[in-house]
């Protein structure tokens, strides 16, 4: 073990002898330095935008490359003498952390490039300070994934929460954003308590909080189950599991778009990382009923998220709910992996886990892309409300076509990344009917059906999202003057688009890459079976299931091209432009198109019990008829408001103690003292 990788023994001066961990710590140090530089250039936007953010992006790219090669190499450890005396930070880089580092680096590279063109003057927090918070946020996520003891983990976890809180409240003068930030911070901290208690159980009364110790401890199943539930609560709060999801649809729209992209694309994944680390690595052997808990919460979250996404009218809020849906799918996949690994089916567990990791990667890229895309739209139009957008494909073609790729990937359509993970997840359901218990066997088809329903609803939501923003006629006059994204913004989007396409077209190669991760967690991998079939993805055997995205794309493209050429060869390519036909109705205007509310109306009807909605309908005699419908999250009314009321009542009871007179307080001290003495005496 190398104690001080960078500073000691001259290694620092000789980069040829650096291991992966050194390079990653270099990236962290560079991000921190860039952040500090931002403090010295608080209001110099040109410097921050043209130098600091691109430099941060370049280091993100470096992290991406280093982590990519680190997945396949053996674990590396380091101890850094930071923090309290006698409690150094332990860091460890294994294939699981390398996989998540790759995601962080890859998404950060694209988002930082976009951010270089995004931040403007006069939006609350000065740009230099934003650069500081942004880069601390990135660095803390890297260190969360690297941490190898509970102390380092919690410090980094809290740094991540705090830095992202400041980023969310960048426009801190708006009351709504203040509220969103407060809610986010509150739930982040309640969740952190859960994680802290979980570590308390994991160390098994040894007082040694390193992960190495936790790994070696054998915990009783009851205590392990408590630790699991605490971890589920803590990481679920960060990931946005129902009913702890309420902060997500508030915080994501409030934050500047690059920050939403990082939070949704990457930060939520650190919670997935934590859960995987604790369940499969630190806790040792999972108990089978944990999988039922994970499946139940995962499915409820996925269905809830997608149904709510379908009825949203704010574009960033829609994406936030869609993130909740994807997190639900990830939890479902983890539940399935736990189920299989407890039933002694390591290959099936590896299949489910591969689906989870694949979805982590593809969701990071497409959701990052969609969020920065909304940023570009927001800048061009100053509008987040879907009801006031429309027709932007003509004034912002770059953004529109990039977003189309993201939308297709998000809708889980072939040949993009989102489809591969859904395909793998459904495969792991289908190949499972060998479970020993008939109850579990009956459960599997129902769960598969729900997953299929969620995936199809995601398609509905994404058609609404893209169609209302980019297609049709502009719903407002000013939209015709919307300008396309700038150079930096385009570069950032192009990188993420490339990620979505690569994940879709090269599943075999990517699965071979993440094989060490599943080997580490469940002791089995798919690389052998998958690699044998070349361009075809066949996780178990080619006659059981196969999918070849490249051939697939080629097939569609070839028939596209052939149809195009043959039509021109045998007939003609003449085109005439005219006014839209619309059944001959001549008085068309933009307000006759479907609104976002209209598009969501069928979903509102079908899933009525899910919603709490208020509707004001005008009567026939209203002079100024107003139609208003608002759909709110039922969890506010069922859970949070009663909880807040209960806390308030309790606080009022405690408030009775506060009399405001010195004599009473002295009496309290006196009584306390007597009681303590009495207890000591006994």
């Amino acid at each position: 073990m190398r104690q001080l990788p960078l500073i000691s023994t001259g290694v620092f001066l000789d980069p040829t002898s650096w291991v992966h961990l050194d390079w990653i710590l270099l990236v962290v140090a560079a991000w921190l330095l860039i952040g500090v530089a931002g403090v010295f250039a608080l209001h110099r936007l040109a410097l921050v935008a043209r130098v600091l953010f691109p430099a941060g992006g370049a280091f993100g790219l470096l992290l991406f490359g280093v982590a990519l090669s680190a997945i396949l190499s053996s674990p590396e450890v380091a101890v850094l003498p930071f923090g309290l005396p006698g409690l150094p930070f332990h860091f460890r880089l294994d294939s699981l952390s390398a996989f998540f580092l790759m995601i962080i680096g890859g998404v950060a590279a694209g988002v930082s490039a976009f951010a270089a063109g995004y931040f403007r003057k006069g939006e609350g927090t000065p740009p230099g300070l934003l650069a500081l918070e942004y880069h601390i946020f990135l660095a803390s996520m890297v260190l969360v994934v690297l941490a190898d003891d509970a102390y380092a983990f919690m410090v980094m976890w809290e740094t991540m929460a705090l830095s992202s809180f400041f980023l969310v409240t960048a426009n801190h003068r708006i009351a709504e954003i203040q509220r969103a930030g407060y809610l986010y911070l509150l739930i982040a901290h309640v969740g952190a308590l859960g994680i802290l208690l979980c570590f308390g159980i994991l160390q098994a009364d040894t007082g040694d909080y390193t992960f190495a110790n936790m790994r070696s401890q054998e915990i009783l199943p009851d205590r392990a189950s408590i630790a699991f539930l605490l971890a589920l609560f803590g990481f679920g709060a960060k990931a946005g599991i129902v009913p702890l999801h309420v902060w997500l649809p508030e915080a994501h729209p409030a934050a500047p778009s690059p920050v939403s992209a990082l939070m949704s694309g990457v930060m939520l994944k650190t919670a997935i990382y934590g859960l995987l680390r604790i369940i499969f690595d630190l806790l040792g052997t999972p108990v089978w009923w944990w999988s039922l808990v994970l499946l139940a919460f995962g499915l409820a979250t996925a269905l809830f998220g997608v149904v709510f996404a379908a009825v949203q009218v704010d574009m960033k809020r829609l994406l936030a709910y869609s993130s909740i849906e994807n997190i639900g799918l990830l939890f479902t996949g983890i539940g399935l992996a736990v189920l299989f690994s407890t039933q002694g089916m390591p290959v099936m567990a590896a299949l489910a886990l591969t689906a989870v990791l694949y979805h982590v990667a593809s969701h990071a890229f497409f959701k990052g892309l969609l969020f920065i895309g909304t940023g570009a739209v927001l800048h061009a139009t100053l509008e987040r409300n879907l009801g006031k957008l429309g027709g932007l494909i003509r004034s912002m073609p770059w953004v529109a076509w990039a977003m189309l790729i993201g939308v297709l990937a998000s809708a889980g359509l072939p040949p993009f990344g989102g489809f591969v993970s859904e395909w793998l997840l459904l495969q792991s359901f289908l190949f499972s009917p060998d479970l020993p218990s008939s109850f579990l066997n009956m459960l599997i088809p129902v769960v598969a059906a729900l997953i299929a329903l969620v995936a199809a609803l995601a398609g509905y939501t994404m058609v609404k999202f893209f169609g209302v923003i980019f297609l049709g006629q502009p719903r407002e006059e000013k939209l015709a003057q919307a300008h396309d994204a700038g150079r930096w913004e385009r570069a950032g989007m192009a990188w993420l688009v490339a990620g979505c396409i690569a994940l879709g077209l090269f599943p075999v190669q990517f699965i071979a890459l993440i094989d060490p991760v599943t080997q580490l967690l469940v002791g089995s991998g798919l690389a052998k079976t998958v690699g044998s079939s070349g361009w075809l993805l066949a996780p178990v055997a080619i006659e059981r299931a196969s999918y070849g995205p490249a051939i697939f794309l080629l097939g569609v493209a070839a028939s596209f091209a052939l149809a195009f050429l043959l039509v021109r060869l045998f007939y003609h390519g003449r085109v005439r432009r005219a006014a839209p036909w619309d059944c001959g109705f001549p008085w068309q205007n933009a307000r006759m198109q479907d609104t976002a509310e209209g598009f969501g109306q069928p979903i509102r009807q079908i899933f009525e019990p899910f919603f709490r909605w208020e509707r004001e309908l005008p009567t026939a005699f209203d002079a100024e008829p107003r139609y208003r419908v608002s759909v709110t999250d039922p969890f506010w009314h069922w859970l949070y408001l009663p909880l807040a009321a209960a806390v308030e009542r309790l606080a009022r009871l405690i408030g009775l103690l506060q009399q405001g007179r010195i004599a009473v307080y002295l009496l309290y001290s006196f009584v306390t003292l007597i009681t303590v003495l009495l207890v000591v005496e006994l």
Partner: protein
Amino acid sequence: MTWLGAFSQLLEIVLALLLAPLLGGWINQWRAWLQNRSAPGLLQPYRTLHKLFNKESVLAEHASPLFRGAPYIVFGCMALACAIVPTLSTDLPLSPAADAIALVGLLGVARVFISLAAMDVGTSFGTLGARREMLIGFLAEPALLMVLFSASLISNSTSLTTIVETLAHRELAIYPSLAFAGVAFTMVSLAENARVPVDNPATHLELTMIHEALILEYSGRHLALLEWAASLKLFAYSCIGLALFFPWGVAEAQAPLALLLAMPALVLKLAIGGALLALLETLSAKMRIFRAPEFLATAFLLAVIGMLVHILVRP
């Protein structure tokens, strides 16, 4: 990949492209006969396509490239779908590229593109059609997937060729799950192909149309491609149904003679199926659009129950 495999693949694509409009014409003829009308000729769909290809395409002033590209994409998706469903032979080189799930994904791509194209011009009917199409789709897609899964559970595979080979060899074995799946599949394919209880292919009545509203703004060759794609979709669905529930007569690998026999078998099965579809359409009345979700939810539940039944009665 064998030469015979490549040949049967090519034969299947060409046959699908050529036969698909004929199937439409055949169904229309039966519909007319059953409704006591005089029928248009069997070749009428070809004449319509030829006429449309000859006409110039009129585009809305502000239509984007997405609008112009969508017909080709939809057509390409449907052609590929016809290529991967084993109708003549199970020795298809393209078939491993997409299994049952990818086939549903492929139909999903076509649906998303045609809906986006319908929203592109920004007319009231276009967006209305897009919304309704996606509404039908989000219920029909999982239902179709569950139907295919019922068959996958029997054959232990999602590969379409393996499914057909397994089902063709089930000597006297009875699968109750397939009965549920069969009913569900019929309901889904009626909805997906814009057939009578859900949509009416012969109407331009604004309040009820779904598929016609989607393609309202198209004309000339774009419309021709979309019409052709719609008939390919019907053809693909019929072939999926035949492959799942009547898989006899499909040639298996390395038998040129079987390929020769498979063709008349396919034509016969399609002819009977088409006549039955026309009968079904004539006997039922069109539902209100708001009833369609109920209809499809029933199909979805039936398919799920089919899967549960399969697991329950499994030895």
